[in-house]
Amino acid sequence: MEKIQIVRLFAVFVLALTASPSAAGPLDSPGAQKALICSACHGFAGNAPGNHVPILAGMNANYFKKAIKDYAEGKRTSPEMEPYSKYVLQFGLDEIAEYFASQKKPVPFSVKIDPKKLSRGQTLATQCIACHGPKGDGENERVIPALRGQPRGFLEAQMALFGSDKRKLDDAGLEEAKKRIFKGLEGPDFEDLAAYYATLK
């Protein structure tokens, strides 16, 4: 009996010695700490709750890095992201990209949308599959972003930029293909496509 108590006491003593209170904290990685200020817009751990801000949780790391470089070089124009992209480059692009890529993506939005719009969106989306994949998950290797689960307002705004040639793709062949697709699309199509991808499970 006494022996057991001594063992227990010893165990407690060792645990007290080895206690490392912050080791298990969700912010205890350099990437998380460097990404702290991003949460003002992009939400905690990249789970943006706003309709016009992209969700960074689970974002393909290669695509994240490309987006940051494009913003910093002015290839993509955004008064918000131009300064912050330089912040990310300054503090550690790889660490921040890895941090967001490893965060759990939130469950796609469950908002009530007219089923007709959704089915139109699904039909239109057949043109996107070749690059963005059958489930809109993109592909890290080919630096293609996921569309599934992104906020509607954000998807619509990006499509409007592509449609008006204010956002271009680097690869000339892909840019041509994108132009051909967007030639046949207009505002209401963007809405339906955004609704489809935002809610795709």
Binding site: A19, S20, P21, G25, L27, P49, G50, Y84, Y87
Partner: protein, 414 residues
Amino acid sequence: MNPISRRRFLQVGGVSVAALGALPVPVFGQARRRVVVIGGGWGGATAAKYVRLTDPSIEVTLLEPNKEFVSCPFSNLVLAGVESLKNLTLNYSRLAKQGVRIRHQAATAIDADRKRVRVGNDALEYDRLIVSPGIDFQWDQVEGLEQAKDKVLHAWKAGPQTVQLAQQLAAMPDGGIVVMTVPPVAYRCPPGPYERASMIGWFLKTKKPKSKLIVLDANKDIVSKTGLFKAVFKDYEAHIDYRPSQKVEKIDVGAKEVTTETGDKVKYDVVNVIPPQRAGAIAVDADLVGGDKRWCEVDHVTYESVKQKSIHVIGDATIGLPVPKSGNVANAMGKICATAVVSSLNGKTPPEIAPGNTCYSWVSDKEAIAVVNAYKIENGKVVQIEQKLTPGKSTAVADNSLAWRTSIWNDILG
């Protein structure tokens, strides 16, 4: 056991402890570590939440007399009748779910030597104190203001005064004169007075076209987003009369008249005096302010006061960093300070993280402009990397501002 003796205790273990210390093991026999946060605004509420998120073994008490959080950003829209204060009012319940102990009481004194905060008849002990007191007004800087402060609205802390000023504007007969005064820098929210002027300008143009707003600015020029606001004021030129270098020195509520530094007397039907400002009273009383007796100087990495050990100051009350007194900056400081406090309490070196600033101003019922600043740390000091302005006003920027408010309110209180 206090943290210092615990640290000494750990050192006794030597090498084997250091090796084992990296493993995430349950915490036993550990001293209770306490962080007290004064002020539940954009900085303080964020800091309280992020200390808990970063290290849930730390006890966090937040002292905030108000039962509800009312957002100053977007409150200028209430004045023009395009937003309701209800939409800007949030509660603290989700913060409590993060394990933050919230006491809706004001901290009345800080005893830095004994590391205690007085709250009513209680004394709360802390290992680290985070002070996020916001601003208070220097009533005595304008003759006649102290006596008239119940009648002359500032509406510079969102709440009942915001609604009262909106009512005064709505009740004013068409053809009336509105006078608003802009205090000398530094004050809370540099573009705020000009956003307010724009929203009142829009309101008069669309609702009371024979009326006029006279802006008496203590500063030589528009303080923030200067070019953008100049373009907006031009759009409203029949309704906004902007007068720089016109510091208000006196108000006479009987005569409904203000007098400026140049001796100009200006009559009004509705007046809005934004008084000169300093850090919240508790920061002044606790000797956290510098020689100017107005603002608190802090370390740029940890936000620890340069005057008092173990006391950190964040938000509008700080001075010396090249950042504006904005809600977004206060939120960033809250997170960075929380990380520094948790690092210090765990015997680690705080990481060098710089804040960021995203700042939207609405200029009509549908359009907004923005300025964004990114910073880095250089030799222990915050240095700006870049500032970017929107090319002009647009509805797209207004949409982004609504997404921003959803996100950041969630970041502060969620």
